[in-house]
Symmetry: C2
Subunit: 176 residues, 2 copies
């Protein structure tokens, strides 16, 4: 008999409802945080990303690696593809990427290759982060594009608490 | 009046037809090279990738950044997604990626995140390559997976000639 997978641990956190009137870093990071909540509810590692151009959200996504069986389906990658489809251009000029955790090697590279203007991440990742954590791909000597960075400080505690609680809940879940 | 884009410069190179009986690095790189030829014919930067597991090709793709308006649509990324779909698992254990040029930051990261066993690339890229060229993401101190590398030497001249000829043809093309 094939047993169904155990249900995901319930998410004890609520979404945020920031005012639409103040479109600052905390506003956009709140939307990325809400994407991360959606990821948890699907039993995915709770990381979310939003891309803003000219004050408007042009993409929002969360990690779907497990459900899609796709190692490239990180929040940032999906958001970059969405934003490029919206613009009809692979060059995401003037874009800011908001993401709840520092991008991994792949996603940091995608930020460079798509020429986004700025990356604002909530939680630094000294293990795998490649925009200042473990290394900084922005510093490759011959790279032809440089990202502005806001490295931590925007909803950092909230996004870290969410990630840590998810992994704790997964560890504590009974084996089925 | 909207003018149509100029036609791509004709590709002066032929595909390779290696024997199926000898499935060595040159065999699989020849298939990646053929993907690169297909890219040129679509006016895309001619880079191709193939993924092999247990002697079988489980994915093959070429760069489609311009046509798809997608900065993430590099040959390696598309091949990784294909291979994961084939396996039904994001972990590409035992896989070797053959690619005609050293992977960029994004694609090098995807190799790590998908836990492929080995990467064999034809042409090193000292400017943007992140598996030995500009840097080596394999050497991140706390990374939890290490790639075996074959860095250059397999159809290297053929793949380099193809890339250089494409960029020369684009530079020399008359403005329309």
């Amino acid at each position: 008999m094939v047993s169904s997978p155990p249900p995901p641990p319930p998410c004890p956190f609520d979404k945020r409802f920031p005012s639409q009137l103040r479109r600052d870093d905390t506003f956009f990071m709140s939307l990325a945080y809400n994407q991360a909540i959606d990821a948890w509810r699907l039993d995915e590692v709770p990381i979310g990303a939003v891309i803003e151009i000219g004050g408007e959200v042009v993409a929002s996504a969360h990690n779907t690696v497990e459900g899609a069986h796709d190692p490239t389906a990180h929040a940032e990658m999906l958001a970059v593809t969405q934003a490029a489809a919206h613009l009809g251009d692979w060059r995401l000029e003037g874009a800011t990427v908001y993401v709840t955790k520092e991008p991994c090697p792949m996603c940091s590279g995608a930020m460079l290759m798509s020429r986004v203007k700025r990356v604002c991440y909530a939680v630094p990742d000294p293990k795998m982060g490649c925009l200042g954590g473990a290394t900084n791909l922005n510093d490759l000597p011959r790279v032809n594009h440089h990202l502005e960075l806001t490295a931590g400080g925007v909803l950092e505690d909230e996004c870290r608490t969410l990630l840590q609680a998810f992994f704790r809940a997964k560890r504590d879940a009974p084996d089925v």
